[in-house]
């Protein structure tokens, strides 16, 4: 298959591109919109907001979620906030500044036009969410409050306590629920996408599996939107929810959608370290803790004293020492690597020696316990619940964990994948964060895609198909895809080995984390590329799935998702191996400065790596989209 990567960036100066696009796109008459059916898979921020808006416009929308309710999507777990260039503080913020911060935060590996559009619509998102009744934090005067976040020198983050993601998702969910109630959205719950169907080079629909009855069925539409989130669970241990998976994106990839920058994964520095081998997931604590906590490890790796017994002189405040000007507030990737190096040098703390201290004793001494409690009380409570330790008395232990994936399905400016008619929105696509995402930008991107981008761009694709028949589910391509899905799940049930899907997921995650995690190198990646296929072989021979395929079977669901993680894991390693530079969340130890900082190679790698499925996961086919910067000067990120 020959694929031409055309990002379809509109003409004109950067600041006018989005307006130009909107002026020149093809429209669908309001009375004709009901003739088009759009399938939206996933009901998180991007999916729910897309469903609501497309239905308001008049399209027939069918929404699919594998949860019991759209409101369960993992967008709900975002804590910190959402960025918008409102400049309510009068501190010099502007669309242009948000754009520059995002490009720089992404280590100059994002597409300029997309990022600028994101900064532009960020303003509308806040207005929209306020109108929907999202209870953002307010000041006593009744106006919206802001806080500041890493990687920015202005206060532009809107928040709702530590539950911003929850409140935004509920806002989008409620708008979607309204359309369900009115009959404009058909909601299918507990349905998982198991394949994407392409007919005559265009996306014709999807094949789903009913998680309650095991029934495999087909659904056709004029266009399909995947808003199915990221693939951070490839690492097994991550801050993602248990059921987060790559299946929808991966099924699309196998049908011809290129997968971009899979090696760009974000590691969040302030998570609670793993406590045991059986641990199922890691818990993130807001990065805001680093405002007052000091990160340190003992100088001596063999120090077994309790932290309060270790004198000042024998402590190494790693971030303050390495990054004197930013100190404990250095960006996520930099802080994470510093913690990893401390642990790797044997100076880790805690029973498994797998964390670093985040110490609040200075802050408690300086501000008093009550101020610390007011600022971080809920986080301290959460830490105590999980670890059983009291952080007011003993320093917290933290360690980085996989949190967000910047990579995803390749999309053009219109958010269309390389399969015409198939779109990807939110974390599922790769478009806006480059090699590293700034805090409070994920919520912004999900809602921007769903509310303000897709509803415009989708009509440009649909308009020419007015009154032309589309393939329906009786087309043989659907039948073939259904049969393949049934065979696939039957295969899992019939292997009859000895190990559960969770076992393989855990083992796979260890390999990916060790060799394609926070720090990568050629040797490790090559090792991973030999170990993953071996484990995959074992999976296919020794998997055991109990129960049947005709009723709810979480083991069977998991088997399908783990299999897709195997193939994705290989692609992540291929991509990391191919990208001979360090940038953002991708750190190759061969490419660093003398001080151990990331060393980009703009001459050779200022491009998006978009991978094509060839049928053999060991031999993906690379396509490159050159990143052309008209507005931005490439520079070295420095937080010294």
């Amino acid at each position: 298959m020959s694929i031409e990567l055309d990002a379809k960036i509109p003409e004109g100066p950067l600041a006018d591109k989005w307006d130009n696009y909107k002026e020149h796109e093809k429209l669908v008459n309001p009375a004709n919109k009901r003739k088009f059916k759009i399938i939206v898979v996933g009901t998180g921020l991007a999916g729910a907001s897309a469903c609501a808006t497309l239905a308001e416009l008049g399209y027939q929308v069918e929404a699919f979620t594998f949860h019991d309710s759209p409101r369960r999507a993992h967008s709900i777990a975002a804590q910190g906030g959402i960025n918008a260039a409102k400049n309510y503080r009068g501190d010099g913020d502007s669309i242009n500044r948000l754009f520059h911060d995002t490009i720089k935060g992404g280590d100059f590996r994002a597409r300029e036009a997309n990022v600028h559009r994101l900064a532009q619509v960020s303003v509308d998102i806040i207005d929209q969410m306020v109108a929907q009744g999202v209870p953002f934090a307010r000041e006593y005067g009744g106006l919206l409050d802001n806080r500041s976040f890493g990687g920015a020198q202005v206060s532009r983050t809107f928040y709702a306590r530590g539950q911003t993601g929850q409140q935004l998702l509920l806002g989008a969910y409620q708008q979607m629920a309204r359309q369900v109630g009115l009959g404009n959205v058909k909601l299918w719950n507990r349905m998982e996408l198991v394949d994407v169907v392409v007919v005559d080079g265009r996306c014709a629909g999807i094949v789903t599996r009913d998680l309650m009855t095991g029934e495999v069925s087909s659904h056709s539409a004029h266009a399909v939107v995947l808003a199915t989130g990221g693939y951070g669970n490839a690492f097994f241990l991550s801050t993602n929810a248990m059921t987060c998976n790559v299946t929808a994106a991966w099924r699309a990839h196998r049908k011809g959608a290129l997968f971009a920058n899979p090696c760009y994964t974000q590691i969040h520095p302030t998570c609670i370290p793993q406590a045991d081998d059986f641990q199922s997931k890691l818990t993130l604590m807001s990065e805001s803790l680093r405002n007052d906590g000091r990160v340190w490890v003992p100088e001596n790796p063999d120090d077994t004293r309790s932290p309060d017994q270790i004198p000042e002189a024998e402590r190494d405040y790693i971030l303050e020492r390495l990054y004197p000007s930013y100190g404990n507030l250095a960006p996520r990737d930099i802080s994470s690597r510093a913690a990893k190096r401390a642990v790797d040098s044997g100076r880790g703390v805690g029973p498994l020696k797998n964390g670093v201290y985040l110490d609040f004793s200075d802050a408690i001494g300086r501000l008093g316990k009550s101020v610390v409690e007011e600022r971080y009380g809920n986080l301290f409570d959460m830490y105590r619940q999980i670890t059983g330790e009291n952080p007011y008395e003993v320093p917290m232990r933290i360690y980085p964990a996989s949190h967000y994936t910047m990579g995803g399905i390749w999309v053009d400016y219109e958010l269309m994948t390389t399969i015409p008619g198939l779109y990807a929105a939110g974390e599922a696509n790769f478009s806006d964060h480059g090699a590293n995402r700034l805090g409070a930008s994920a919520l912004m991107q999900g809602l921007a895609d769903g509310y303000f981008v897709l509803p415009y761009t989708i009509s440009n694709y649909l308009a020419p198909f007015l009154n032309k028949p589309i393939p329906d589910t009786s087309h043989e391509a659907f039948g073939v895809a259904e049969q393949q899905a049934r065979d696939r799940f039957a295969r899992f049930l019939s292997i009859g080995g000895t190990r559960s899907p969770d076992y393989f997921h855990r083992e796979l995650g260890k390999i990916i984390w060790d060799y394609c995690g926070m720090e990568r190198n050629r040797q490790g990646l090559e090792k991973a590329l030999s170990e993953i296929p071996a484990l995959y072989d074992e999976f296919q021979k020794d998997l055991r799935v109990t129960g049947d395929g005709e009723s709810t079977n979480q083991t069977l669901e998991k088997a399908g998702r783990v299999e897709d993680f195997f193939e994705l894991g290989m692609l992540m390693c291929h991509d990391a191996l191919d990208r001979e530079e360090s940038c953002g969340g991708h750190f190759r130890s061969e490419h660093q400065t003398e001080e151990g900082e990331a060393l980009r190679d703009d001459d050779n790698f200022a491009h998006v790596s978009a991978w094509e499925w060839t049928g053999d996961p060991a031999r993906p086919n690379l396509h490159e989209e050159a990143l052309v910067y008209e507005e931005v000067q490439l520079q070295t990120r420095s937080y010294k």
């Binding site: 709900i76 009744g133 307010r138 009744g142 409140q167 409620q174 059983g388 109990t546």
Partner: protein, 262 residues
């Protein structure tokens, strides 16, 4: 709660409700957990049990769970007769084994209500909550026409009170804990959130009437036991039920014409 991080519990007995499908009467089945770290979460203990069951060729226990940090509202379970277990103000996924002692017998049953039918084992269907939201749990604000976010100042205490109610995670523990199987805390929380805000005034009474009446198609009635508040992982106050009752009364008695209430 101890502050010891790494203890081990031994000889736990689990009585778990197993039910093959909606039509199966179901029964308790006993499982032994010889040893478990007290740092494990309750759901991780079930994960370990399930892995053991799968490797022994038995079907894993089906239970709902997802985020495992107390925000998505997917997890459920009646543990020893309490929704979300013995710890107050947390969801099942935030419960750790250090809350229990060696030798304990732990009884695990699904949430029960007529509108929460058991799908399988410990998994129930809570879609009735979505039906309540669909009839009015929103502010009609189509995308695109919103005025500036700072156009209507909202006093901080009002925003805070709305946020207190909006913290609801829709887990259904209120229904499960209520001796009457009522969903008043859930519906009251939704209504209090939207009815308190200035943006929510236009549809306030229409919303209240529609949501209360849909709630009653599915759930029991509130007799003010207060069990819901105690079981709520977000400790939402039953004050929201009083707000709902007051607004429903107003909705019914308001002059329809002068308020142009449909």
């Amino acid at each position: 709660m101890t502050t010891q991080n790494h203890g081990t519990l031994t000889n736990l007995t689990l009585e778990i409700w197993r039910q093959t499908g909606p039509d199966d009467p179901g029964r308790f089945v006993t499982y032994e957990i010889p040893e478990i770290s007290d740092g494990a979460s309750f759901l991780e203990m079930l994960d370990i049990l399930n892995e053991r069951l799968i490797e022994a060729g038995e079907e894993a226990v089906v239970f709902d769970h997802d985020c495992r940090e107390g925000i998505c509202g997917t997890c459920s379970l009646m543990i020893d007769g309490r929704a979300h277990g013995p710890q107050r103000g947390t969801a099942t996924c935030q419960l750790h084994m250090r809350t229990f002692s060696s030798g304990d017998t732990i009884v695990i049953e699904p949430f029960r209500a007529s509108s929460f039918p058991v799908i399988k084992d410990l998994m129930v269907d809570r879609a009735a909550f979505d039906r309540i939201v669909e009839v009015g749990g929103f502010i009609s604000a189509a995308t695109g026409g919103a005025p500036d976010g700072n156009l209507i100042p909202i006093p901080k205490p009002v925003a805070d009170a709305a946020m207190d109610a909006a913290a609801c995670i829709g887990c259904g523990a209120c229904v499960a804990a209520c001796p009457n199987g009522a969903a008043s805390l859930f519906t009251g929380a939704k209504l209090a959130h939207l009815n308190l805000l200035p943006q929510g005034q236009a549809e306030r009474f229409k919303r209240t009437e529609a949501m209360v009446e849909t709630m009653e198609e599915h759930f029991g009635s509130c007799t003010n036991h207060g069990e819901c508040e105690a079981a709520c992982p977000k400790s939402i106050s039953i004050d929201v039920i009083a707000v709902m009752n007051a607004d429903y009364r107003k909705a019914k008695f308001k002059n329809r014409k002068s308020l142009s209430r449909v």
